[in-house]
Amino acid sequence: MPALILARLALLEARRGGLLWLAAFALAAAIALGGFFAALAITEGRLVQAALVAAILRICAVFLLAAQVVASIRREIDERRLEFTLALPVGRSTQYLGRLAGFAALGVLLAVAFSLPLFLWAPAAPVALWGASLAFELALVAAAALFFAMTLAQHVAALAATAAFYLLARSMSALQAIASGPLADESTWHELGRRAVDGVALLLPALDRVTRTEWLLYGAPDTRSYAMALGAMVLYILLLAAAGLFDFARRSA
């Protein structure tokens, strides 16, 4: 299976590139920082530790994966290895989805590794749900980073676009709440701005509804809202994969 070979190559490249060590360092740093902050807390020491370690590990996992995907793809393009693989008798969709599967599998491995320390401070079921949600979130980040790395010509531009997309998606609900706050004026400009924010929100995944720290602190979410949040992630991964395939099909080299 050519797709499986490409997926395996993505994992192999991550291992040889030292991602394992970076992940281990991120884990150690997050646990140390969490312990430091918990020692300063006069109450909710366990919750402080769980919340901060989870938040740090989540952003570390996203950054590591996005950087790995962008670096890997841009290197492949810059060294003209992509031209070589395009000449192989393997369908373009197989090539694109194979790479995506490899990066998503890397995301799953990171999610598992980064969930393990949370068992120290939170019940098992919420940690498992948090970890599964992080795996889906990382698969989405991998799809976004792959899309931007393939479509944008520069390494920095691709990484910046992935970061902007991710942070905006996590902040959209807060932006919408601010835009429609009770103290907002009723001018036409404000109304246009509010509608623009709502419009942008329609195009972004609701990343503020997944991998929530509150699950670790106050208990697991109800099954329906959890399934809906993860279903929305799968839908967005499909959208990003379709957009990436569309661009990849048009690529001359």
Partner: protein, 236 residues
């Protein structure tokens, strides 16, 4: 691993420059005293919406991190009366914003009742106690411990029995969860009993530990330390 030339290939002047720059950096940093967040440094509180935006979808982590940041103001190691010089209007706004960010966190009200309301300034203490009372009404079953301590402070520190009875009556009336211990549900009687602050504090702490209301080691440690400090103060 990348290919590298041996260390002996590095010119001597570069070793010197590197060593001197490192030594200078360490010397400069060693001469700089660590920044202490003084009372005047506490800025006005941002809105909870702004904090939510800045949290990038992590309001619970942000609320706790901001509480640690807040409790660093006006608390130097040698400060004889921590928090006394803080601008309490700003402080209460901060606590309110952080509570809005994560309404299920007990940290802001715990700090309000156990730390900020204990300053020896009746005006500031009352500001915080009123904040605790107003926020208690939004979620009595979860927030009654802070108001119970507020009632004790009103009685024993402010010597304002009507205020203490108002807080005690509110607990009796609104905190209906079976998890609320009996002494708290009979708080008004408890407040009217003729006992000193130490006896009352011992009963409250013992009752909370027995009822499981305190399950956090850091909190239990902090409360035991507070009790010891109270014992020392009253023994003098």
């Amino acid at each position: 691993m990348r290919d590298e030339r041996p260390l002996s290939d590095v010119p001597a002047w570069l070793w010197l420059v590197l060593g001197a720059a490192l030594a200078a950096q360490i010397a400069v940093r060693a001469l700089q005293a660590p920044l202490a967040l003084g009372s005047a440094d506490l800025p006005p509180a941002p809105s909870s919406a702004a904090l939510r935006l800045a949290s990038f979808g992590e309001p619970e982590a942000m609320a706790r991190l901001a509480m640690l940041y807040l409790q660093a103001f006006d608390y130097g190691g040698t400060n004889p009366s921590p928090y006394r010089e803080l601008n309490y209007a700003h402080l209460v706004d901060w606590l309110r914003a952080l509570l809005e960010l994560d309404p299920r966190s007990e940290y802001p009200l715990f700090a309000a009742a156990r730390v900020y309301a204990e300053v020896p300034d009746p005006v500031k203490s009352r500001m915080v106690l009123e904040f605790v009372y107003r926020e208690f009404l939004a979620d009595p079953d979860r927030r009654w411990p802070a108001l119970a301590h507020a009632a004790l402070l009103a009685k024993h520190r402010l010597h304002d029995l009507p205020l203490a009875r108002r807080y005690a009556a509110a607990i009796q009336r609104y905190a209906r969860s079976p998890a609320v211990p009996l002494w708290a549900r009979q708080m008004e009687v408890f407040i009217l009993e003729d006992m000193n602050e130490l006896e009352a504090a011992r009963i409250v702490l013992g009752g909370m530990l027995a009822s499981g209301a305190i399950d956090d080691p850091a909190e239990a440690r902090f409360l035991r330390r507070e009790l010891e400090a109270l014992e020392h103060r009253l023994a003098r």
